[in-house]
């Protein structure tokens, strides 16, 4: 009896681990710029803001900036909305949209704040 239970438990655990590995891609929504370019679909790309520079576009058309992904590839991003307040201080930025021609058209922009839980006005450490 015990042995039979042990084997079943082992099989189920093995199956679970196998499932996690095969579903790895579904566990994260973020893709690289290369994958974004290939797929041409609406994707999420996570990266850093190059030089912490954000330009405003004329006629309130939005903002433009360069994004560098984890692989080191850079792209010009165009976002038609308003710049999030804390964008220059963000650790990372996520652009959601499509890779079109030579630039990335973002519909949505997300920011990741630094994980420091320090008191305000302590003086931001680099």
């Amino acid at each position: 009896m015990k042995k039979r239970h042990g084997i079943s438990l082992l099989l189920i655990t093995a199956f679970a681990v196998f499932s996690v590995f095969s579903f790895q891609k579904s566990l994260t929504p973020y893709v690289s710029l290369a994958q974004a370019r290939e797929s041409g679909m609406n994707v999420q790309v996570k990266g850093i803001l190059v030089d912490k520079q954000v330009q405003g576009l004329a006629d309130n058309k939005g903002i433009a900036f360069r994004l560098r992904d984890a692989a080191g590839e850079e792209v010009q991003v165009l976002y038609p909305g308003t710049k999030p307040d804390n964008m220059e201080h963000a650790q990372e930025v996520v652009v959601i949209g499509r890779y079109a021609e030579r630039c990335f058209q973002a519909d949505k922009l997300l920011v990741k704040c630094p994980s420091k839980y320090e008191r305000q006005g302590k003086g931001a450490s680099s």
Partner: protein
């Protein structure tokens, strides 16, 4: 007595979160959401662990009182998990810019809700006490196997927008001492609330079981 004390502690805790916690760099006052979100998540994991523990107690002894505890704890785990998910989504909207983007942390907590949601369905679908207890116990144990993966391993494997966990790889606590203290207190108070609710629901469940047993006895007479 304990219930009064618990209520006082909850009120005191809420006061501490609003008046003692200093606004954080960057987040400002929004950091206070974390004092709800984090305790909910921790207690949920604890509740699932307790559920698995009493499930194994049941399987070894076949005493229904363990099944009752296991089931109540699993349900509370789902409740706290749901509260953690919702508070997380609100936090995400305010700090990232969107309620939900299937960030790995969000996906894994959603999976956790599904896995334990199936536990609820299992319990409703089996009528017979002992059969239900046996199946639930096995499921509670298997479900708990996934918890360390989903809560601790997977979210650290993939890049995420979620802030680094307080128990992080470098072993450093990147948090003001006063904030850490109040956070730990919040976790402790939430655990106490969970335990009181568990005991209360267990008492209610046992009372109805006794009533049912008495009715059965009367019918047989």
């Amino acid at each position: 007595m304990m219930n009064w004390l618990t209520c006082m502690l909850v009120i005191g805790m809420t006061g501490a979160v609003f008046f003692w916690v200093p606004p954080a760099e960057g987040l400002g006052s929004l950091v206070r959401i974390a004092y709800f979100h984090i305790p909910m998540a921790w207690v949920s994991v604890l509740a699932f662990l307790v559920s698995a523990y009493y499930a194994s107690c049941y399987l070894r002894s076949r005493e229904l009182r363990y099944d009752i505890r296991s089931a109540i704890s699993a349900r509370l785990g789902i409740l706290f998990c749901f509260l953690a998910t919702v508070s997380g989504a609100v936090f995400a909207k305010l700090t990232w810019g969107t309620y939900w983007n299937w960030d790995p942390r969000q996906t894994t907590i959603f999976l956790l809700l599904l896995i334990y949601g199936a536990y609820l369905v299992l319990r409703i679908s089996v009528r017979q006490d002992r059969e239900r207890a046996k199946l639930s116990a096995v499921y509670a144990l298997l479900a708990f196997v996934t918890v360390p993966f989903l809560v601790f391993v997977v979210p650290r494997t993939f890049p995420t927008l979620h802030p680094e966990p307080v128990l992080n790889a470098s072993g450093k606590m990147e948090m003001e001492p006063v904030m850490v203290t109040i956070l730990l207190a919040a976790v402790a108070v939430s655990t106490l609330v969970y335990w009181r609710i568990l005991l209360h629901l267990e008492k209610k469940a046992n009372a109805s079981v006794t009533k049912h047993a008495d009715c059965m006895k009367e019918e047989n007479v």
